[in-house]
Symmetry: C2
């Protein structure tokens, strides 16, 4: 009997892209179910009742939420083309940098691009520091060494989404002069065939994020949601 592998996601989300990319790297066929984030399906709410968020991986009827948790599950379930290293210390380092991306880097960067101008300088400084930390960490072609690994997948947002956000926000924080190593990694990553095939269309993402930015600045709450 064929396996049931479904991804509940959204085309413009780096978090559901992480899951799709991992499945593609493993060669696991899956069905992608596009969620309307303004009107979430009853299935999504059933499968992720705690956070009510995409992505959810459904594997033979069992749902898993939280992209980093899903990535580890994928690596433990389909063992070909491992995305985590074998050595416990290297595995710990990979997990450390994924947490750093999600808990420090991404919130700081998003804030730097999305915050109102008068408060931007401090946010830009913090984002710059985090990016320098990542720049110094990158030793090989990819964070995973010669092939794409967990940290590269978790940094997909930095590789692709940031470029679009910079264009929308008309702010250039990441460029080859300030971050030559990261920018070289971005080139390698987005041109790596399974990545290239799975990224959203740039023009669509540009329109989508442009509209979200306009809506944010037009609203009174100014609450940044990414």
């Amino acid at each position: 009997m064929a396996e049931e592998v479904k991804v509940f996601g959204a085309w413009g989300s780096p978090f559901s892209h992480r899951v799709e990319l991992a499945l593609k790297l493993k060669g696991v066929p899956y069905e992608f179910i596009e969620e309307d984030l303004a009107n979430k399906s009853s299935l999504l709410l059933k499968y992720n009742p705690i956070h009510k968020k995409i992505p959810v991986l459904l594997h033979n009827g069992k749902p898993i939420a939280e992209s980093l948790v899903i990535l580890e599950y994928i690596d433990e379930t389909w063992k070909d083309n491992p995305i985590l290293p074998e050595d416990p210390y290297e595995r710990a380092m990979a997990r450390f940098w994924c947490k750093f991306m999600d808990e420090k880097c991404m919130p700081a960067l998003w804030k730097a691009y999305w915050i109102e101008e008068k408060e931007r300088a401090k946010a830009m400084e913090e984002a710059f520091e985090h990016l320098k930390t990542l720049e110094n960490e990158l030793k090989g072609k990819f964070f995973g060494g010669e092939t794409i690994g967990l940290v590269d997948i978790a940094c997909n947002w930095l590789a692709f989404w940031i470029g679009v956000i910079q264009e929308v926000a008309e702010i250039e924080l990441v460029n080859g002069e300030k971050f030559p190593i990261l920018c070289k990694w971005i080139e390698e990553f987005i041109n790596y065939s399974p990545v290239k095939e799975s990224l959203p269309h740039r023009e669509n993402l540009l329109a989508y994020l442009g509209a979200r930015r306009e809506a944010l600045f037009a609203s009174t709450s100014k609450q940044i949601i990414y």
Copy 2:
């Protein structure tokens, strides 16, 4: 040659307690190095230059930061008495609940106890919801089943620190009437011998957290740091 296993921690921190408890459950001897959090040692800053926080596990010269990352490292390095289940789906669920504790439950609970009275009602409501979610999740004696596992260790704060915080704040959110299943788990957990032997002295923690609460309410910033 004997292994070098050192824990840089603080006696009153649930995060360094997690690491100590995991090592005790595994029967791994270690040296505990008490950090003065107001004046961190140059070794701590060297071993955790990104976050500059405890706990850090030093294993044969290699440092690992972030308590949940350390717990996975411990389980992969010393294989006796596993703290994560074997099955990939159960492992994913354990990781999901640990993230829930750290990212949702703990910040909401801390806020509920520590926020000024006029803003407390909403915070209490959110904390209550998260605790109900946890209460509904607990099916066996422990989150890990018949023995203590990753989620139990990650919930150590709820088992022991909450009781002290409730006494300091004179607020009772967790009790046997509202959360009978969680309170039964708390009893089982804190009386489990490796836990009991590794918890801080209650009176010391009471004095420490009482002083911190007083300092917070006396300061103008009211920034909650836990």
